[in-house]
């Protein structure tokens, strides 16, 4: 019998965003190779244009509207995937904008930096579409390995080395645990496709302990990725030691990718096994919010404060998972939980990137990220101080800034679920919102009330690209807060795709 190989049919339109990114990667390497020192300045521009060009096919796929399922359902391009791909690409573009001057001023490898950044983003866009265990694992490594390297990009700095090494060692350990969990789940279901896994593990009661251990291991692996307590120990040191644009990138894009994978694995693969994962997510969410906020209260360095605050924000995003299965069908069911997570991610990306952009603009002058260095900022740089105020109060959830709507949808899912556990979690979340307001407000107080250290009141010069990044984040934060309908539509679009 001669060997038969069925050539798979490939829908190139569905892969167009990824293909555009790979082309960007190749162009980046060539610009670095051909123009050497003279072309360094162009690499940021190439990366930025490449990422914006990759958004075009995402839009054309969205206009086309049809869900595309490739390779027997292993790779799906639907509204959920498209919303997240757009989020990753725009967040990546903003990261390029805030990196441009930081990387050009420091003594860093420029071309390779943007090459790593776009590689990591490629992993994220693949993750948004991956609906089988092998694709998810490969996408996770694709987004993580460049991120480990980027965290240590300041290679002559001991803190930078510590940041990279801690992130790398704990990251590969979490990957190994998750991979073992995947092998157990595959052993029971006999398939790597999430849809088939759902059929196999929600159908019978065979091998309950095996399924439980498999689900626990996989969720633990992703809990590391989204820095949920108690798997958050790497986050503060890594965030402080990494170059600041990379800290912003990790706390937004990398976290969003972890949540994208969790949504797909849990809501497609493990639906019907909520007896295992719902209590886990409850504990993770409550711990993550509370521990993140309590430690954030004690921080004196703004980057570390934002690191712990991003841990706490992850707790809010984990909360809808804990109650997803209890939401009645007429309130949207599991889809409502998906919509809440995606909405939170979109809003959080704008305000957190914005806060980091202000930190970078101020650090260009003060060379410090200590909160005490922010004294008198309102007097000598009122524009930056007002923007910082907008971003931190949005993170705290004050209307009419976008953050309130993110918190509102999470509370709505918790109360719609209406079980005792859900209401308790809502109470925990309210208490945490109040704690968080305290430290966010203390940043604002420092900027307005305290005098500038050493009467240093020269104006802060903000370079063009950093200004553009600030503008994009500020517009997103204000517009989504004033017109939550905009973001609600995106969130609704996203939930349509995932539901089986």
């Amino acid at each position: 019998m001669p060997p038969v190989f069925d050539t798979p049919a490939i829908d190139y339109h569905a892969f167009a965003p990824e293909i555009a990114m790979v082309v960007t990667l190749v162009v980046l390497l060539f610009v670095d190779l051909v123009f050497e020192e003279r072309g360094r300045w162009a690499t940021a521009t190439v990366a930025g244009i490449g990422l914006l060009a990759s958004v075009v096919p995402v839009l054309s796929l969205a206009v086309d509207g049809a869900d595309r399922s490739l390779f027997g359902g292993a790779y799906v391009v639907d509204n959920f995937a498209l919303v997240l791909k757009a989020l990753f690409l725009v967040a990546g573009y903003v990261t390029v904008l805030i990196s441009t001057d930081y990387i050009a001023d420091g003594d860093y490898y420029e071309g390779e930096y943007y090459f790593m950044l776009v590689s990591s983003l490629l992993g994220m866009t693949v993750m948004a579409s991956a609906r089988d265990l092998i694709s998810i694992f490969v996408a996770l490594e694709m987004l993580s390995i460049p991120a480990y390297l980027l965290a240590g990009w300041r290679k002559r700095d001991l803190r930078g080395n510590e940041a990279s090494l801690k992130y790398y060692l704990l990251g590969v350990f979490a990957s190994a645990v998750m991979l073992y969990g995947m092998s157990l789940v595959f052993g029971v279901s006999g398939s790597t496709l999430l849809v088939d896994i759902n059929q196999a593990i929600s159908r019978g009661v065979d091998s309950v302990p095996l399924v439980t251990v498999g689900i626990v291991f996989i969720v633990v692996g992703f809990a590391f990725k989204v820095s949920a307590v108690p798997f958050h120990t790497w986050a503060p040191d890594t965030y402080q030691g990494a170059p600041t644009p990379i800290t912003a990138f990790l706390s937004v894009a990398s976290k969003a990718a972890g949540f994208a994978a969790l949504v797909q694995i849990v809501f497609i693969g493990f639906l019907g096994r909520e007896d295992v994962w719902a209590p886990m997510f409850w504990v993770l969410a409550a711990l993550t919010m509370t521990v993140g906020n309590l430690i954030a209260l004690r921080q004196t360095n703004l980057v570390r404060l934002l690191a712990y605050s991003s841990v706490a924000q992850a707790g809010f995003m984990l909360a809808p998972f804990a109650v997803a299965a209890d939401i009645p069908a007429d309130r949207g069911g599991v889809g409502a939980a998906t919509g809440a997570v995606v909405t939170y991610l979109l809003i959080y990306a704008g305000m957190n990137l914005g806060a980091f952009a202000v930190v970078m603009a101020v650090a260009r002058k003060t060379r410090s990220a200590e909160i005490s260095a922010y004294g008198g900022l309102f007097a000598y740089a009122p524009g930056l101080a007002v923007l910082m105020g907008v971003f931190v109060f949005s993170l705290a959830g004050i209307p009419p800034l976008a953050g309130w709507y993110a918190k509102f949808v999470v509370f709505k899912t918790l109360l719609d679920a209406g079980t005792v556990a859900a209401v308790t979690l809502a109470v925990v979340a309210v208490v945490n919102s109040v704690i968080a307001l305290f430290y966010y407000a203390s940043v604002a107080r420092q900027m307005i009330m305290e005098p500038a250290p050493e009467a240093e009141t020269a104006r802060v010069r903000v370079p063009g690209s950093l200004g553009a990044a600030l503008g994009i984040c500020a517009v997103a934060t204000l517009a989504f807060g004033a017109f939550p309908g905009l973001i609600a539509q995106l969130g609704d679009l996203a939930l349509l795709g995932v539901l089986p």
Binding site: E112, M116, M142, W153
Partner: protein, 172 residues
């Protein structure tokens, strides 16, 4: 089936003993060499399961690349090559307890789920049928059809890892 069971018992015993030596030996180079024994035994287990491709990959990647990389790493850094007394740290008992607990949980879970299962007998299955379904050819077909996306992504990943490793390792 008897022959396979005896072979499994021997391989499993060798792998376990070698694994214990990896963590108890006081010489880093010996630990790496014991690791070769562990990985080779696992490779032989794959052969017993008629997964010859996985076995070959196991030998090539783990022994041929990873352990050799360990040995180069030990030689190129200024680590001691002989016996070292401070190779163990204070957390070894916690580590041992955690390891035993994990062993207990996983043994229970696997025995509970698969304890009564048997591998399908090969009597009456033609050689061609077996290779078409499970052989190296089938793995190749799967990589270039069902798993095409992960395969292509990994090729970009290797390039990215290469570029990043050069940046971090190069002296400047």
């Amino acid at each position: 089936m008897i022959a396979q069971n005896i072979a499994f018992a021997i391989l499993a015993l060798v792998a376990t003993l070698a694994a214990l030596r990896v963590v108890t030996t006081r010489n880093v180079v010996h630990a790496a060499l014991y690791l070769v024994v562990v990985l080779a035994s696992v490779g032989a287990l794959y052969v017993l399961l008629a997964a010859e491709f996985v076995a070959a990959v196991q030998i090539l990647i783990y022994i041929g690349a990873i352990v050799v990389l360990f040995l180069f790493g030990i030689m190129l850094t200024r680590a001691t090559i002989g016996v070292e007394s401070d190779l163990d740290n204070d957390q070894r008992w916690i580590a041992a307890i955690t390891g035993l607990f994990l062993l207990g949980v996983l043994t229970f879970v696997l025995v509970e789920s698969f304890g009564d299962d048997q591998l399908p007998g090969l009597a009456g299955v033609s050689r061609e049928e077996l290779t078409a379904q499970r052989g190296t050819g089938a793995v190749g077909d799967a990589i270039f059809s069902t798993y095409l996306v992960p395969f292509e992504v990994i090729s970009v990943l290797l390039l990215a890892a290469l570029v990043g490793a050069i940046v971090l390792a190069r002296r400047d």
